[in-house]
């Protein structure tokens, strides 16, 4: 059984400190999680093998591994986007697969933000509309212009704060794209699109940010900018971040480094921000 938890990480990885781990609350907990992809007329593919993982609230975990190591599957399982073949997935103490699809979706919408490795902006929407999209999918379906608290109860909206549109515009400014709000994604470079995706991931004040190879298609300079941005997000929001990448040099951005190979997860040596 592979086992990777905050305590292990703290003990085995000398450079790993977790400044944002301000309580012992587990944001993510995987127990004995396996994932097997079965397809007709082909052999089953084991993507995750009996994975145990604990991620404390506020951690910035970087998972590295080669292609097809199971990194993306790990993120998908944590996010409830893929049902594990075995094991339990807890997010903030809630068993994801004990929830109905509706409640699981709501939890994803309310508590999680995603940065995908592929272009994931909707081409029919402007940059601003893309950033606002998670709000319209949420339980309240905040319209543009409705007021949303910066620190709303349960991480959600209420009265008295800036409008959703204001917040989206601020986030776009944060990622350096304040002037592109009304542009369509096709007019942006790959790096700019990925910045918009980060802004979209933050619109709902997520407590858990999941990033899947966020810099895989970017040049070195843009990659550094995106990672810098994620670091700032972590520092400023205290969100728990799980980032998977095959680029080993990105591990220094995290507070804990895990390595993945052949569907197994293990603590890795060498990290990270101290």
């Amino acid at each position: 059984m592979s086992d990777a938890g905050p305590t292990d990480a703290g003990s085995s990885d000398t450079a790993m400190s977790a400044p944002k781990v301000n309580d012992c609350r587990l944001m993510v907990s995987l127990r004995g999680v396996s994932k097997v992809y079965e397809a007709p007329r082909s052999l089953p593919v084991v993507a995750l093998r009996d994975v145990d993982l604990d991620v404390a609230a506020g951690e910035f975990v970087v998972v590295t591994g080669r292609s097809a190591a199971g990194k993306t599957t790990l993120l998908n399982v944590i996010a409830g986007l893929s049902r594990p073949s075995a094991g339990v997935v807890l997010v903030d103490g809630t068993d994801l697969w004990g929830l109905s699809d509706r409640r699981r979706s709501r939890l994803r919408n309310a508590d999680m933000g995603f940065v995908f490795q592929f272009p994931s902006l909707l081409s029919s929407l402007t940059v601003l509309q893309n950033v606002l999209l998670p709000l319209s999918l949420g339980p309240a379906g905040w319209p543009e212009g409705q007021r949303v608290d910066e620190e709303p109860p349960g991480g959600h909206g209420g009265d008295g704060g800036p409008s959703a549109r204001d917040r989206a515009e601020k986030l776009l400014e944060l990622v350096g794209l304040g002037s592109a709000a009304r542009s369509y994604p096709r007019r942006l470079s790959a790096g700019q699109q990925q910045r918009v995706v980060i802004a979209r991931a933050l619109i709902n004040h997520p407590r858990l940010l999941l990033a899947d190879e966020p810099t895989s298609n970017l040049d070195e300079e843009t990659e550094a900018e995106i990672m810098e941005l994620l670091g700032r997000v972590h520092d400023e929001t205290g969100a728990t971040i799980v980032l998977v990448t095959h680029a080993a040099d990105l591990v220094r951005r995290g507070t804990r480094h895990l390595a993945m190979a052949d569907g197994r997860l293990r603590p890795a040596v060498g990290l990270a921000r101290g």
């Binding site: 998908n76 699809d101 994803r108 994931s120 999918l137 309240a140 379906g141 905040w142």
Partner: protein
């Protein structure tokens, strides 16, 4: 509590609005797909509405015409029922006559309250009076008539005199109210209500006027009007209260040789059969259209959903439930279908209205354009059918797409 419910309802409405806005944006993003969906909806809704207008209009027309005649039983020369129907409905004048002496024998049958003769005539070809090539003329006996007379008394305060006429709803009334047939001038006193049959383009005169016109025509018309002596075209029968029209009709047929007595519900039988046949054909064509459209739409929308698997996976990742994905895909198809369907019913409605006369002539059936309420119901039904067809076609790929694991969808 009520405030919470109101807020939840408002939030639900906002969400639905957002989904529709997103659907519109996506529909605009793939114009080819949207056009194909719209065309399918256009054809289904348009065909359904035009079928409903023509078939229902035909049935209404026959009902109105029978009601206008006001007779419980119509007696016609044996074998001439279809000809007389054609004369009344389509203006194809009957050349078959029955002896006037039959009138007394019919009136004597038990259960007959009133028997009134009618003569069917037509104007000369392209007479100066009329917009139609041959104006159909119904001559009735003012002493016994119960079909036009009640309306005349109600609307005009009395019966028609010599050299007077009333027209069907589509007869144009000249400024000086004078019409000339066979060189014989008559005063057109007014117009009847529409029936959708040829009666709307007919003139109604009394028998004395008809005979006077025939006498005059020998010197005033290019071709004289000939009315066979002591002959009538048909006899309208009103049954006495308490009598069974079927029994009376049977008794007339039995006791008066050379005639057929037809009850009101059985009048225009050939046309009823024709309309039923038309309905049957239209329904078969509609069913074929629906089947073809469904197959095309399912393929089209399945391809579209497949192409957008990653996008749908992203939506799921961002918090869209399966239900939201289904609603989004349905809304996208239905918004476009609604536009196409509305265009279809509008074109069908206006088209049938504009081409009313040629359609009736081509199909060989009369039909009356529906009133506002009936038209609204037909439009709603046609639009509903198109939306249901597109909805069903969209639901199949939508359910399939929403059921897919988001991670698998995004992997594409």
């Amino acid at each position: 509590m009520s405030q919470i419910i109101r807020r939840k309802a408002a939030s639900g409405l906002v969400k639905i609005g957002r989904v529709i806005v997103l659907a519109l944006r996506n529909a605009a993003g793939d114009p080819v797909r949207s056009w194909l969906i719209a065309i399918c909806a256009f054809v289904i809704a348009g065909f359904a509405v035009s079928t409903a207008i023509v078939v229902r209009g035909g049935q209404d027309s026959l009902r109105l015409a029978a009601s206008r005649l006001g007779a419980d039983v119509v007696v016609v020369p044996r074998g001439a029922a279809t000809e007389v129907d054609g004369a009344l409905l389509m203006g194809t004048v009957s050349r078959r006559w029955m002896p006037r002496s039959d009138l007394a024998r019919i009136a004597a049958v038990k259960g007959v309250a009133v028997a009134s003769p009618q003569i069917y005539l037509e104007s000369l070809s392209h007479a100066s009076c009329c917009a139609v090539s041959h104006m159909f003329i119904v001559a009735f006996d003012p002493r016994t008539d119960f079909t036009v007379e009640p309306w005349l008394r109600r609307q005009l305060g009395g019966t028609l005199g010599l050299q007077q006429a009333v027209g069907g709803s589509q007869v144009t009334v000249p400024v000086n109210h004078n019409v000339m047939l066979y060189g014989y001038t008559m005063w057109l006193r007014g117009k009847l209500e529409p029936t959708g049959t040829n009666l709307d383009q007919s003139l109604f005169i009394t028998l004395p006027t008809a005979y006077a016109m025939a006498r005059s025509s020998s010197t005033t018309a290019v071709k004289p009007l000939v009315i066979p002596k002591d002959r009538v075209s048909s006899v309208m029968v009103k049954v006495a209260p308490g009598s069974d029209p079927a029994a009376v009709a049977a008794a007339i047929t039995r006791s008066v040789p050379g005639v057929n007595a037809v009850m009101r519900p059985q009048m225009f039988a050939a046309y009823r059969t024709q309309i039923a046949g038309l309905l049957h054909v239209m329904l078969v064509v509609l069913a074929l259209l629906l089947a073809l459209a469904l197959v095309a739409l399912v393929l089209l929308l399945s391809m579209a959903a497949h192409e957008r698997r990653r996008e749908l996976g992203v939506l799921r990742a961002l918090g869209a439930s399966r239900g939201v994905v289904v609603v989004a895909l349905l809304a996208e198809a239905l918004v476009v279908a609604c536009a196409g369907g509305l265009a279809g019913v509008a074109v069908a409605g206006f088209g049938v209205s504009l081409l009313h006369t040629p359609i009736a002539a081509h199909l060989g059936i009369p039909f009356v354009y529906p009133s506002g309420g009936a038209l609204a119901a037909q439009v709603a039904a046609g639009l509903g059918l198109a939306l249901v067809a597109v909805g069903v076609a969209a639901a199949i790929p939508a359910l399939r797409a929403s059921g897919e694991e988001p991670a698998v969808a995004m992997r594409e």
